[in-house]
Subunit: 424 residues, 2 copies
């Protein structure tokens, strides 16, 4: 075999022991925290049918799919579309598989169904710092709960989990797609242009109302839209408390279904309680939050952390998505935690590697019996061949993460001595 | 979107909550048991370069590779080999990635390096009962330990782990490729036909020496080979104790390097000790064990369980394999546990789902405050909307795995009552 580059495939990573230990500790903490709220892990395969993954649920991510070559192909005819040679593909998120999972297993799932998924997804992204082609997603979903209880519960479980991981301060931003639609409607924006309208509105903090007017004009919106938008939203301070925003909107959008504001009031009530019981939680209603995915139908939310440019978690209600695989609507509400970001931010205790037992050329079973006796006392024991320079060896054992060592003397493990870095 | 089949891709599985809980419990038990011996988890990506995966290390598995279409392909020319359209593929085992991982990261790994890998692999097998296209492998390897200490340690760690999972009785079968080569040589079998010779020899229990003679003749081996084989091995009882086998071989194969028998003696010494300290362990030297992979160079072993037709774990020494990616030999010895089989056999305690809190249309935060107060007492609490027939609902909560319930009364959770199956 010709000598190959031994690095992992471009954009993917090898994880060394300390990194796996950290990732696994975060996964265990997330799973055990959500389990206290009744969320249970499910798992779907990494591969799904290509047809499903390209059916439009995935938005922009569908352009980044890794497709798998059909098996048993003969030589190909001229002009063949390479995509037609594929039947399977790697999943690019956990939401599309969740909808299939639900449709496939609904008879065996208790309702409401609280699902926790933690697993790898693949996207053919242009590799960049902090952006990978295989990365772990962590999704939490409640299926079958139509009321805002689902949003409130998701908020409590997710904030509790992030705080348990030592991550904070956390700023929750809350909005509602129904509210966005009402604002757009009030200002005469046709439904299909709502997204484009909000992308521009989003920038008012940075470019001011004059900038918004210019960009809307450039996009071909009528001139009065900028004025109407400013009239409706310009008087709202970006630091207004949630209650203030809700009462203003009740007046400004008289045609808005009152359940929208009532639901937002419920969620802010839960957030108010959580901000006094958990450390470092703040929240606001932020009308500029849109979130990319087309499938949201109700409340949408994001959680920001000062050390992270993008939000570290986000989600919302998507009551119509399951109808596509099921033929019948199922109330659904979910949260996605940016796992890779959370791994960086979490406070995780380093596992104790235990005792390094230094041995020489003693017979194997003599070494193993001594190690087993040492292990009986409770700590892990790793066998390490004695090197010539004990001082340097103890230093490097300390660097690896061992905090105690013993030597094999007369066929039994001697005293367990604490390891520390030697003064060099 | 046209209505699609909602099942997982052919040969793959959805895992429901109880199944994931079982699998995760087995993974946690394996990881924590091996950690006590100094083994640490590593992780490599699911995708590797196609060139590496088809370089001959994978034997028959290379025929079962899922290949990934290169990105950004235009329409294809006539007669194109479909394989040439691919640059990446899904890994079919954890050994090829381990050799790449080691070559890529050796400067940062302490020696000997004890690696534990638990992760999915993919093979385009013909689906059958118990055979999947995505399944989990569990590999344990010691790199950098040239002596038989590695074999003994692997044996102790692996048997301890399986027994901790409640799996038994376990029958260890031990052999050595160097011994097989010596036997073949003694009988005049050329090296390249050794494997074929042992495939037939393997069947002596079933077809007798006459059957072996017939099959060897059919394969074109000289007639005297069957006689020589029977002379050498026929006097060895299949139930002979390990010490008896070793002393017989010392006489029968005078040209055999004495370290081979000395090493086997060491491993059997450890096995003898383990069979008296662990429950349900037996062992033997079994000259008919060959194992498929071409890369083994020394001792090879299998662990059998009475309820499993195939061995539930196996492995051996493969000192030359790493040289292929590294250009330099590294002593290596590994064990692979049949994870899917072990999940079926393991005794795993069912997790306590905790308390089901039955609620109605109370305001969300009232329900959540009651649940939080209940959770403070230590058990998980899941919210469940009250149904009309309490009796039937309690039955199905019991079936789901809840063992206690409470109802929401006047805005606070009432007494926590034990759940049992109602007499129907």
């Amino acid at each position: 075999m010709a000598k190959l580059d031994n690095g992992p495939a471009r954009g993917t990573r090898d994880f060394l022991p300390a990194e796996v230990a950290r990732r696994e500790a975060v996964i265990a903490a997330i799973a055990s925290s959500y389990a206290r709220f009744g969320f249970r892990r499910i798992e779907t395969p990494a591969i799904e049918s290509l047809e499903r993954l390209t059916s439009g649920q995935g938005g922009e991510n569908e352009k980044l799919i890794y497709k798998i070559l059909r098996r048993g192909l003969e030589a190909v005819e001229a002009g063949t579309d390479p995509d037609s040679l594929c039947d399977l593909a790697l999943r690019y998120d956990l939401t599309v598989p969740l909808t299939r999972f639900y449709a496939n297993n609904q008879g065996r799932l208790a309702m409401p169904f609280r699902a926790l998924q933690i697993g790898p997804v693949w996207r053919a992204e242009r590799p960049a710092r902090g952006r990978y082609r295989q990365f772990t997603q962590c999704d939490i979903d409640i299926l079958g709960e139509p009321s805002v209880l689902a949003e409130c519960e998701l908020m409590e479980a997710s904030l509790t989990t992030l705080v348990a991981l030592g991550i904070g301060p956390l700023a929750v931003r809350l909005n509602d797609r129904r509210l966005l639609r009402a604002i757009a409607e009030e200002n005469g924006v046709p439904e299909e242009r709502t997204a484009s309208y909000f992308v521009t509105l989003d920038k008012v903090d940075k470019i001011g109302w004059a900038g918004v007017a210019a960009e809307l004009a450039e996009k071909g919106f009528p001139a009065e839209l900028a004025l109407a938008s400013e009239r409706l939203l310009g008087s709202l301070s970006p630091t207004a408390a949630a209650a203030e925003v809700l009462s203003y909107l009740a007046g400004a959008l008289p045609s808005l279904d009152e359940s929208v504001l009532a639901d937002l009031e419920e969620t802010t009530r839960t957030l108010e309680r959580l901000s006094s019981s958990l450390r470092g939680i703040s929240y606001e209603i932020d009308l500029t939050i849109v979130r990319g995915m087309g499938y949201y139908t109700g409340q949408i939310f994001e959680i920001a952390h000062p050390e992270s440019a993008n939000s570290i978690a986000g989600g919302g209600r998507y009551d119509d998505l399951l109808a596509r695989s099921l033929g019948q609507s199922v109330p659904a509400c979910g949260f996605s935690i940016g796992f890779e970001r959370v791994v960086d931010l979490a406070e995780v205790e380093q596992a104790d590697l235990g005792v390094a037992l230094l041995h020489g050329n003693e017979p194997p079973d003599v070494i193993l019996v001594a190690a087993a006796a040492l292990r009986q006392r409770g700590r892990p024991v790793a066998l390490v061949p004695r090197r010539k320079s004990l001082g340097r060896q103890l230093d490097s054992l300390y660097d690896e993460g061992y905090r105690a060592f013993a030597t094999l003397e007369d066929g039994t493990a001697g005293e367990v001595r604490p390891l520390s870095r030697q003064p060099s």
